[in-house]
Subunit: 335 residues, 2 copies
DNA sequence: TTGAAAGCGCTACCAG
DNA sequence: CTGGTAGCGCTTTCAA
């Protein structure tokens, strides 16, 4: 026994396959009695729509590809879930892939999705450099980039506003009495980091802080530890430190405290990137959390819009500001 | 200008579409010169395989559906990633869906995947009750269940061994001198919880502990808080508490300490379910972490095996033991 | 080893 | 409003 086809349904309902198809899609008007007969046949036969055949004929798979960076340790779950939900609402399916390790292999990931004939793609680039080939490979398929890194201006994108982000953070530090600030874990060589350093400088200027230095360090816990040791050795000259992420901030804070530096009394420490999931009240590090959920929704909205409009207009860029989460590492002032 | 088809390739290479197809699939032997001509035509025309047409004809989409519970706050990322990788290795694509909120709606999620004609499905049930309809709906499509909850014995599954898990935890508590134990946040009414309570009792027996009580509480932070208040009010009678998850344990520990109960000096607190991502050295709560990565790989392995074998044999069940992560809430003894 | 041809199940066009 | 029908692009017999 094989699955019933639309032809079986049509026969059982005493109509043509064309009519049966129209009932399914609801595209055009079908008389009430015929429609009812078709629906009855569908349930009685246990007919199941075949999206594959439909896609081949209509040249639309009703499917969207999502490409994520590997090793994202979970903090993209909110993005996946919101993209999935938004697509679901639009009756679309989600095909998920992680971008390959190698640089050029990224294009292969896109290629696999194109072979599946996805109607569109949402890409979350692991860095600004990597995704060029991937986006080029996409060709005429609509692409939306989403995340912390956006490559170029060729596609619609949903990103974060570095300036609003640092204003939020530096403003809070300033309100708590900070006068000078340095960054740890951002390297001027990386374009995205350079922009963040620039944004920090600007925010310092606005808030009357002195931007002392940008200490380069690996953006992991050990990097924070190393930076803290350097600070202690050279003698501390700042009262606020902004780290690339929570891990760096954790390492830095821990070592500073081991060296009898009072955090946040003497030095305030904050992070630009939340990597935790604790929604608890007892947050250790003041940090900025990215609104992944809203970003995912917006990415899908842009994509659906591109399906409809045809994408003649230039690439749109939507930005969000992160949310400031106050923790024990700063003398946070809520208002 | 439209995408080139295999017919275009065949024409350009001076062969039949059949031969061109054979070169692509590598199924049967094609003479070297013809194969070379086809490959040349493919690159020169920029031909891209059409998985949709291929699927319609061959009745295999080379696609696997993954159904996850909603609101899994990120701790399933490792599962998604490992499943994705394993499928990738097998040349399969991943279609992701979150199960709907309502109970019966779960079957709709499966239905959507079946309409897409996935070759198989991996389901991570949110509880044992919910997935019955979903699995029934799958019909003859191979299904593997994976996660903390497994429904029935009708499908292959990858789960966790409650007994090995509690032995690990209770053993550690016993080695640190615990003599009596109670559970918080597990309710005897829920089958899966009942099994865990049973496993705890058994582990207590083996390790010479007295299992005092199973306090029911919501499996969230507030539940831990409520349980702690109850314990303080009624006068503490145990020296070890095992909570349903980290959140409960956190709430409980915090309130106990506020009431001047020394944790872990006076009472040790542990959790059965890790929901964090901190790999840091400074873990607050002793907990059990599930090996999601290995579980995902195993799930895919079972599924691929089902594709090949035909699944005549009975349902296989693979179980893993969680990893014990020692934290500041117990007087952990590493060995 | 190769080619011709018959569909896979559906949608969309074109008549009626 | 409805039915007939021509494919969508590919794989897979069946002959040659």
């Amino acid at each position: 026994m094989t699955q019933p086809t639309l032809a079986d349904v049509a026969t059982a309902a005493g109509v043509s396959v064309a009519t049966a198809s129209r009932v399914l899609s609801g595209a055009r008007f079908v008389s009430d009695d015929k429609a009812k007969a078709v629906r009855k046949a569908i349930t009685s036969l246990g007919y199941r729509h075949n999206a594959v055949a439909s896609a081949l004929r209509s040249q639309r798979t009703e499917t969207v590809g999502l490409i994520l960076p590997r090793y994202s340790t979970g903090f993209l779950s909110a993005l996946i879930e919101s993209v999935s939900d938004a697509l679901d609402d639009a009756g679309l399916s989600l095909v998920l892939r992680y971008s390959s390790d190698g640089e050029a292999h990224d294009a292969d990931t896109v290629e696999a999705l194109l072979a599946r004939r996805v109607d569109g793609m949402i890409i979350c680039p692991p860095s600004e450099e990597v995704s060029r080939d991937a986006i080029a490979a996409a060709g005429r398929v609509p692409v939306v980039q989403v995340g912390r890194f956006i490559f170029g201006n060729s596609t619609d994108s949903v990103g974060l506003d570095d300036h609003r982000a640092t204003d939020l953070l530096v403003g809070s530090l300033a309100a708590s009495g900070a006068r000078s600030l340095l960054s740890v874990g951002l390297s001027a060589d990386v374009p995205a980091d350079a922009r963040r350093i620039g944004a920090l400088r600007a925010s310092c200027a606005v808030n009357g802080l002195t931007f002392v230095d940008a200490i380069e360090a690996d953006a992991v816990l050990a990097g924070g530890v190393a930076a803290a040791n350097r600070l202690v050795d050279t003698g501390l000259e700042v009262d606020a430190v902004v780290c690339a992420n929570d891990d760096v901030a954790h390492g830095l804070t821990t070592v500073l405290r081991l060296n009898s530096v009072d955090v946040p009394g003497q030095v305030q420490v904050a992070s630009l990137l939340d990597v935790s999931f604790d929604d608890g009240d007892s947050r250790a590090i003041t940090t900025l959390r990215h609104p992944w959920e809203a970003m995912g929704q917006e990415a899908v909205r842009l994509l659906l819009d591109a399906f409809g409009g045809g994408g003649t207009a230039g690439a749109r860029r939507v930005t969000f500001a992160p949310q400031l989460l106050l923790g024990a590492s700063t003398r946070g002032v809520t208002d």
